[in-house]
C-alpha cells in the first residue's frame, strides 16, 4: 500500500518566477522523508507538486518528471484528481470542514465524492482511520459533534484521519506540527512512526529535532537570495545528514548558524 516516487530534474514556476529549480530525488516507500531548509526556499512548493496541488494556484506549472511506481504523474493522460486520491496531504493549519461532524470529516473523501457506503462500512472506516490517527479514544463518544469543537492538536489528527481514510499510497505533510503544542506534536510524531509501516511519508518541518527523530532520509533545500530559485542542496540518510553532512551550508543550517 505504499509507492516510491522518483523526481527527475523538476522545475516549478509561478508564472514567470522560477521558484524551485532542478530537484532530483528518490522518495522511498515505507519511510519518512523530511524536507528541511530556510523559509521561502520552496519546500511547500515542491511538496505540492507531488500530488499536483500546485495546479490549483493560477499560473503555477512544473517542468521535469515525477514518477510514481513507473507512472509519470505529469503525463498528459494522468488525471490530477486521481493523483490526489493516491497522494494525500495534511496542511500546516488544521482545516477540518466546519459544516461536518467528526465522523463526517473522516468520511469526507467518500461523502464529497458522492460515493455510496453502507452504514457498517462507514462506521468501520471511521473507527479504523481514527484509531490510525491515535484519536479514537478521545472522540469515540462524540463522533457527531462538529470537528471544530476539538483542540488544535486533535483537529490536526482528525485531518490525518481524514487523509488516511481514503487509503492513499503516499502522505504529504506540510509543517503539520508548527501550529501545535509540544504534547500534540509528540502525539503526531509517534503517529508518523506508526504510519510509515503502511505509507510513504514526506514531511516538511522547521524543527531539526523533529526531522532527526522521525525521518529516515532528510533533504536540505536552500536559496541563494530573494528572487532566486530554491534548490535541493543535498539528501542522505538522516543520521548521516545530522552527523556528517557533505555540504558546509547543510551543517551551518542544521547547527543553527543560519536560517
Amino acid at each position: 500500500m505504499s509507492k516510491r516516487i522518483d523526481v527527475e530534474n523538476l522545475d516549478v514556476y509561478y508564472g514567470d518566477f522560477l521558484a524551485v529549480e532542478g530537484v532530483s530525488m528518490a522518495i522511498e516507500p515505507r519511510s519518512v522523508t523530511a524536507l528541511i531548509g530556510p523559509s521561502g526556499c520552496g519546500k511547500s512548493t515542491f511538496l505540492r507538486t507531488l500530488n499536483r496541488m500546485h495546479e490549483v494556484i493560477p499560473g503555477a506549472r512544473v517542468e521535469g518528471r515525477a514518477v510514481m511506481d513507473g507512472q509519470d504523474l505529469y503525463a498528459p493522460e494522468v488525471d490530477p484528481v486521481q493523483v490526489r486520491r493516491q497522494v494525500g496531504m495534511v496542511f500546516q493549519r488544521p482545516n477540518p470542514f466546519p459544516t461536518m461532524s467528526i465522523a463526517d470529516n473522516v468520511l469526507a473523501g467518500v461523502r464529497l465524492n458522492n460515493k455510496r457506503i453502507s452504514k457498517g462500512d462507514a462506521a468501520d472506516t471511521v473507527e479504523r482511520s481514527l484509531r490510525g490517527a491515535n484519536l479514537w479514544n478521545e472522540v469515540k463518544d462524540r463522533l457527531d459533534k462538529p470537528g471544530s469543537s476539538l483542540s488544535g492538536g486533535q483537529q490536526q489528527r482528525l485531518c490525518i484521519a481524514r487523509a488516511i481514510a481514503v487509503e492513499p499510497q503516499v502522505l504529504l505533510m506540510d509543517e503539520p506540527c508548527s501550529a501545535l503544542d509540544p504534547i500534540s506534536t509528540l502525539a503526531i510524531e509517534d503517529l508518523m512512526s506508526e504510519l510509515k509501516n503502511d505509507y510513504t511519508i514526506v514531511i516538511v518541518t522547521h524543527n531539526m529535532q523533529q526531522a532527526a527523530r522521525v525521518s529516515d532520509r532528510t533533504a536540505f533545500f536552500n536559496i541563494a537570495g530573494t528572487g532566486q530559485p530554491g534548490k535541493l542542496i543535498e539528501m542522505a540518510d538522516t543520521p548521516t545528514m545530522f552527523s556528517s553532512p557533505s555540504v558546509p551550508a547543510t551543517e551551518d543550517y542544521i547547527s543553527g548558524r543560519f536560517g
Binding site: M53, V56, F91, N95, N113, A163
Partner: protein, 352 residues
C-alpha cells in the same frame, strides 16, 4: 479636591480620578432641565429644540467636568461617546417615526378580513374589501423574480469567484456594478418593451413584472453571493482537492455548503430590495380587483401598486393604502424571520 495630575508626575500611578457611573445620566437630566427652563422662558419650547439644546449642554457639561476631574484623555472619550450616541438617536428618529406612522395609520382598517378578502364589488365609500389578491400577486411576482434571478446570480457569482480570470470576469463585474444603479422605472420599461416585442402590445402578466424585478434583483444577488463565497477560506477548498474531490463537487459540497447561511441572507436582502418596488410593477402588471394565480396571463394586483392606487383615490382608500403598507412590512419581517431560521440551521457548527 484632587485635580487631574500632569502626565509627568502620574507616570508611576496606575489609578486616577473617575466620575461616578451615574455622572452621564445626571448630566443628561440636568441639561434637559436647564434646556427646558431656558426655552420656556424664551417661549420656544418644542420637543425638537429641547432635545437639541439638551444634547448640546450635555456634551459641553460632561466633557468639561470630565476634563477637570478625569483628565483630557477620558474627556475626549466621553465627548466621542456622546457624539456617537446622539448620532445613533438621530438615525433612530426617522425609523421609529416611520414604523409608528405605518402601524397607527394602518391599524384603522387592518384586520383578518382585510387580509382575506379582495376588492371585487367594492365601490365608492364602502369600507369593506381587502388585500388578499394583492398579497397573492406580490408573493407570486416576487417568487417568480427570485426563481429567475437566484440561479443566474448564483452561477455568475460562482463563475466570478471560482473560475473568472482576466477581461471577461472584469467585464462582468463592471456591468454588475452598472446594473446595481439602474433606476427601477428603467427596469420596468425594459420588461415592457421586451414583452411587447415578444407577445404583442396587449400582453400583461405577472411574469412581465417578475422580469422587471429580476433585472433589479440579479446584481444584488451576484454581489452578496460573491462576498459570501470569497469568505470561504481557501484552506477548505484545498482540503477537498487534496482528498481527490473534483472541482465542481468541491464547489457544490464545500464552498456552497459552507456559505449557505450567508447566501440565504443575501437573497433575502435582494428580495427585500424589490418587494416594495412600485413603478416597474405599475407599468407591467397593472392592477385588478380579484385574485389571479396565473403568473403567465393577465394583470395582477400587488401590494405597492395597490397602496399607490388606493391612496390616489382618496377617502377610505387612504386607510386601505396604509393598511396595505403595514401588510407589506409584516410580510418582509416574516420573510426575514424565515431566512434567519434557515441560515441558523445551515451555518457552520462551532462550540462543543
Amino acid at each position: 479636591m484632587p485635580v487631574a495630575t500632569a502626565p509627568a508626575s502620574s507616570a508611576l500611578t496606575l489609578t486616577g480620578n473617575r466620575l461616578p457611573r451615574w455622572a452621564p445620566w445626571a448630566s443628561v437630566a440636568g441639561s434637559a432641565l436647564v434646556a427646558w427652563g431656558v426655552l420656556v422662558l424664551t417661549g420656544e419650547h418644542t420637543a425638537t429644540t429641547v432635545a437639541a439644546l439638551t444634547a448640546l449642554l450635555h456634551a459641553v457639561a460632561l466633557t468639561s467636568v470630565s476634563r477637570y476631574v478625569e483628565g483630557p484623555r477620558r474627556a475626549t472619550d466621553r465627548l466621542a461617546t456622546t457624539l456617537v450616541t446622539v448620532a445613533f438617536l438621530l438615525a433612530l428618529v426617522p425609523l421609529v417615526s416611520l414604523l409608528w406612522t405605518v402601524v397607527s395609520r394602518g391599524a384603522v382598517l387592518f384586520s383578518g378580513t382585510f387580509l382575506t378578502t379582495d376588492m371585487v364589488g367594492v365601490f365608492g365609500d364602502m369600507t369593506s374589501g381587502g388585500v388578499a389578491h394583492a398579497i397573492v400577486g406580490t408573493l407570486m411576482v416576487t417568487l417568480t423574480a427570485t426563481l429567475i434571478s437566484v440561479p443566474i446570480g448564483l452561477l455568475t457569482a460562482i463563475y466570478l469567484v471560482e473560475y473568472g480570470r482576466g477581461p471577461l470576469a472584469k467585464g462582468i463585474t463592471f456591468f454588475v456594478d452598472v446594473m446595481t444603479g439602474i433606476p427601477s422605472i428603467v427596469a420596468g420599461l425594459f420588461a415592457f418593451a421586451l414583452f411587447t416585442l415578444l407577445m404583442g402590445p396587449a400582453y400583461r402578466s405577472g411574469l412581465m413584472g417578475a422580469v422587471a424585478l429580476a433585472v433589479l434583483m440579479t446584481p444584488v444577488v451576484i454581489r452578496s453571493v460573491e462576498e459570501m463565497l470569497r469568505l470561504v477560506p481557501n484552506e477548505l477548498r484545498e482540503a477537498s482537492y487534496a482528498l481527490g474531490v473534483p472541482k465542481w463537487l468541491t464547489i457544490l459540497k464545500v464552498v456552497l455548503r459552507t456559505s449557505v447561511a450567508g447566501i440565504v441572507t443575501g437573497v433575502m436582502l435582494a428580495i427585500a430590495r424589490v418587494i416594495g418596488e412600485t413603478a416597474p410593477l405599475l407599468i407591467t402588471v397593472g392592477m385588478i380587483t380579484r385574485t389571479n394565480w396565473d403568473v403567465f396571463e393577465g394583470r395582477m394586483a400587488t401590494l405597492p401598486v395597490f397602496a399607490y392606487s388606493q391612496y390616489q383615490q382618496g377617502g377610505v382608500g387612504v386607510d386601505r393604502a396604509w393598511a396595505a403598507a403595514l401588510t407589506l412590512i409584516l410580510i418582509v419581517m416574516l420573510l426575514n424571520l424565515v431566512a434567519r431560521g434557515i441560515s441558523r440551521a445551515f451555518r457552520p457548527k462551532t462550540g462543543r
